[in-house]
């Protein structure tokens, strides 16, 4: 009996091993290394030089990093509600659609599978102030050029539009699958009781979709904290440093300026922030996420 249990344990661990090895190699080890590198000055060529807490001290006086944190939080406040809220509305509308559901699903999800770099370049041209297509139509209807990418406020609108178009498909898909997984009996019961669509949405759909909402919320917050593609490709962090984000700052510090130690410090701090937010959300979920409904 004891031998059987031991065999079962070994096969269990062996089945887990591929995932554990991947996790260790591609997540655990880099996180650990970045924590260690935070105490060094290193440029890939010369030997790493131990600098103690210098990188951390420098972080507190780095005005550029402060701007990057501020910009990232701005993106968080703009993009999270867009992705989590509008994604849900779109998914609900398409789920309820009786015709052309396949068409809508395809149209909404398609941008997610296109390479970000290629479409970002196209969007850059579309949003160009003097020669862009959008401003051409604005001028055609008597308006004046809108500074889509050259105004520190408008640039957030432009990036939000791009981000919505490019990435909404993923959250839409999560919600759509979540909606499909809600047992029909609840809707039938609500219908028999004469509940309106709005009441059904708020009293059945939302609570039963809460695990998906929780998942989408966490993944969105994490991905917005790591936002890089949109500002890098559309604005190169500009105008000025208006759209420089933490991930952009890490890229510049570690991979352009080759200040690997300081770059590691920033990325480790970012890791701790994301971890803290995720833990808080995880603890808070008990109050609103419903798992036990079948």
């Amino acid at each position: 009996m004891k031998k059987k249990k031991m065999h079962d344990n070994i096969s269990g661990y062996l089945f887990l091993a591929p995932a554990l090895i991947s996790f260790f190699l591609f997540i655990g080890l880099p996180v650990g290394l970045s924590a260690v590198l935070s105490f060094f000055k290193y440029n890939l060529i010369n030997p790493a030089q131990f600098v103690g807490l210098d990188n951390i001290r420098h972080m507190f006086s780095d005005k550029g990093l402060l701007v990057a944190f501020g910009n990232t939080f701005k993106f968080l406040l703009i993009l999270c509600p867009i992705h989590c809220g509008l994604g849900l509305i779109l998914a609900f509308l398409v789920y309820k659609a009786t015709r052309f559901q396949f068409f809508f699903r395809t149209v909404i999800y398609f941008p997610s599978i296109v390479t970000t770099a290629s479409v970002a370049i196209a969007w850059g041209y579309i949003f160009s102030t003097d020669t862009g297509v959008i401003n051409y139509f604005v001028r055609l209807f008597g308006g004046s050029n809108i500074p889509w990418l050259t105004d520190r406020t408008m640039v957030y609108v432009t990036i939000a539009l791009f981000s919505f178009w490019k990435f909404i498909g993923t959250t839409f898909l999560y919600y759509f699958i979540g909606l499909q997984n809600i047992p029909n009996v609840y809707y039938e019961a609500a219908s028999i009781d004469g509940a309106s669509t709005v009441k059904t949405f708020f009293h059945i759909t939302l609570p039963l979709l809460s695990p998906t909402i929780f998942f989408v919320l966490i993944t969105n917050i994490v991905s917005v904290f790591q936002i890089f593609d949109e500002p890098y490709l559309l604005t190169n962090g500009g105008p000025g440093s208006s759209t420089k984000t933490i991930a952009f700052e890490i890229y510049q510090t570690a991979f352009q300026e080759m200040n690997i130690g300081y770059g590691a410090t920033i990325s480790f701090v970012l890791f701790l922030i994301i971890l803290a937010i995720t833990v808080i959300q995880y603890i808070g979920q008990n109050k609103w996420v419903v798992y036990d409904y079948e």
């Binding site: 065999h7 070994i10 096969s11 062996l14 089945f15 091993a17 591929p18 090895i21 991947s22 190699l25 440029n43 890939l44 060529i45 010369n46 005005k63 550029g64 370049i121 850059g124 041209y125 160009s128 102030t129 003097d130 020669t131 001028r139 500074p147 990418l149 050259t150 520190r152 559309l234 604005t235 190169n236 962090g237 500009g238 105008p239 000025g240 440093s241 208006s242 510049q252 991979f255 352009q256 300026e257 080759m258 200040n259």
Partner: protein
């Protein structure tokens, strides 16, 4: 029992398979350049195993050198054909790697390749990366090659600018490369736009007032779209400093220990750029995805400041109505210079052969065949011949007229070039796009730059 054994076996296979995949993946990481140099490593290894380095009696036919170049690869075919000639001559094979990026990013890529253990023998390095590589001690001096080939070296040195030769020397006087190609910065004009405004090419000592009057005349509207006079040097560290030099300013002092970007002369030029956009409306608000060279070709702007590199685009677009003149003399006419050379690396396992290749590439035979529309050949005689034979732009002799003199002032390129470049370009963007206060922005930039340059003191 059999089932359990099978399950164990399958799990073990999965683990082995996965770890096998991982090591394979990591071996291919780093893109095609890394893959290319891995091949090079594989090619050079048997020769070492089979009896050590070629200097210990190995055949030159077995040697493959790896050469990194900066560019999008459009000249790769031409380069590879020339390198085949070199192979026929010497028996040494050369593999070329093109890195498509700006000079700053290219230098970072080279740094990553060396740090990552890729076997890189030679690389073209521009002024932006020279002090960085010298500071890190990765470049190999070529003084022994010069001593052994004095006649060839003298011929190269006599035909290139002494100001550029100095850039390739360290504090101890060791030489690391010969000047290969260079750029100064001049004003490019769309001559169609000038003709439409009844303007001639300005004189070589044109002043700020004349420049502004040209801007006034060249700002028009065509088919409802505004036609601008000038594109400010946005995102162009090198070109922007050329404007500062003509007003007696620069980003930093000559020994790179202190920033001077917030000096009154510098502020005056940055203020001029902001005014050209917002006060006078002579220049468009610069954008990341809008190429100013395209704008001068299609006539949307009439003037722009660059080196000779736009000629490649002019030729590709069959754009011939273009002329060049020195930048306006705000307080002086001080030409800027940015030069590159072929470096050899200490880590090369075939250092002597690498130095031979670098020297061959710095001579007229290679440079004359390779450099046509882009950079200016560093050899004065060659530059005169190549540039005048291309015929465009009008007044093109400005590119080579002084190229064997020490008239050029090199662009500010400290070992911390990337950091300083990021600071300068952000400041330009803040001033030219965000309409930020010029003095305050440059004070902030100077403070950031001083903290970066502090380690040079």
């Amino acid at each position: 029992m059999k089932k359990r054994f099978l399950a164990l076996l399958m799990a073990a296979c999965m683990v082995i398979g996965l770890t096998g995949c991982q090591s394979g993946n990591s071996g291919n990481g780093g893109g095609s350049e890394a893959a290319e140099s891995s091949e090079t490593a594989a090619e050079t290894k048997p020769e070492e195993d089979a009896g050590g380095a070629e200097d210990a009696g190995g055949k030159k036919e077995d040697i493959t050198l790896t050469l990194a170049m900066c560019g999008d690869g459009t000249t790769k075919e031409a380069l590879d054909n020339l390198l085949k000639m070199y192979t026929e001559k010497t028996g040494i094979k050369v593999e070329s790697i093109f890195v498509a990026s700006s000079w700053g990013e290219y230098c970072t890529k080279i740094q990553t390749m060396i740090g990552g253990g890729d076997e890189l023998d030679c690389a073209i390095v521009a002024i932006e990366g020279i002090s960085k590589f010298l500071d890190m001690g990765v470049a190999a001096p070529i003084d022994d090659w010069i001593a052994a080939n004095q006649e060839i070296a003298d011929a190269i040195l006599a035909d290139t600018s002494p100001a550029f030769q100095e850039i390739f020397k360290d504090d101890a006087g060791n030489t690391y490369a010969f000047p290969f190609s260079f750029n100064n910065v001049v004003m490019h004009f769309n001559m169609d736009r000038l003709k439409e405004a009844n303007l001639e090419l300005p004189g070589e000592s044109w002043t700020k007032e004349e420049f502004l009057s040209y801007c006034e005349a060249l700002t028009t509207e065509k088919d409802g779209i505004k036609q601008y006079a000038i594109a400010v040097p946005y995102g162009e560290y090198f070109c922007a400093e050329a404007w500062l030099y003509n007003n007696g300013a620069s980003y930093m002092n000559e020994d790179f220990t202190e920033s001077t970007i917030n000096s009154p002369e510098s502020v005056e030029i940055f203020q001029l750029w902001q005014d050209l956009i917002y006060k006078y409306g002579y220049a468009p608000v610069p954008e990341e995805n809008v190429g100013a060279i395209d704008q001068i070709i299609n006539g949307q702007v009439a003037m722009g400041s660059w080196g000779r590199w736009p000629t490649a685009q002019y030729v590709a677009n069959d754009f011939k109505d273009v002329a060049v003149q020195y930048l306006p003399s705000f307080s002086q006419n001080q030409q800027i210079g940015g030069v590159d050379g072929i470096f050899t690396f200490n880590s090369s396992k075939h250092l002597e052969e690498a130095k031979e290749l670098a020297a061959w590439m710095s001579q007229a035979e290679f440079a004359g065949a390779y450099l046509s529309t882009g950079n200016i050949p560093a050899l004065h005689s060659l530059a005169e011949d190549k540039i005048s034979s291309l015929g465009i732009p009008e007044n093109c002799e400005l590119f080579y007229l002084d190229s064997n003199t020490d008239i050029y002032k090199p662009v500010s390129a400290p070992p911390q070039f990337t950091e300083c470049s990021n600071i300068v370009l952000t400041a330009i963007s803040e001033i030219c796009v965000n309409k930020a206060d010029v003095q305050a922005t440059l004070d902030e930039a100077a403070e950031q730059m001083n903290s970066v340059l502090a380690e040079n003191k």
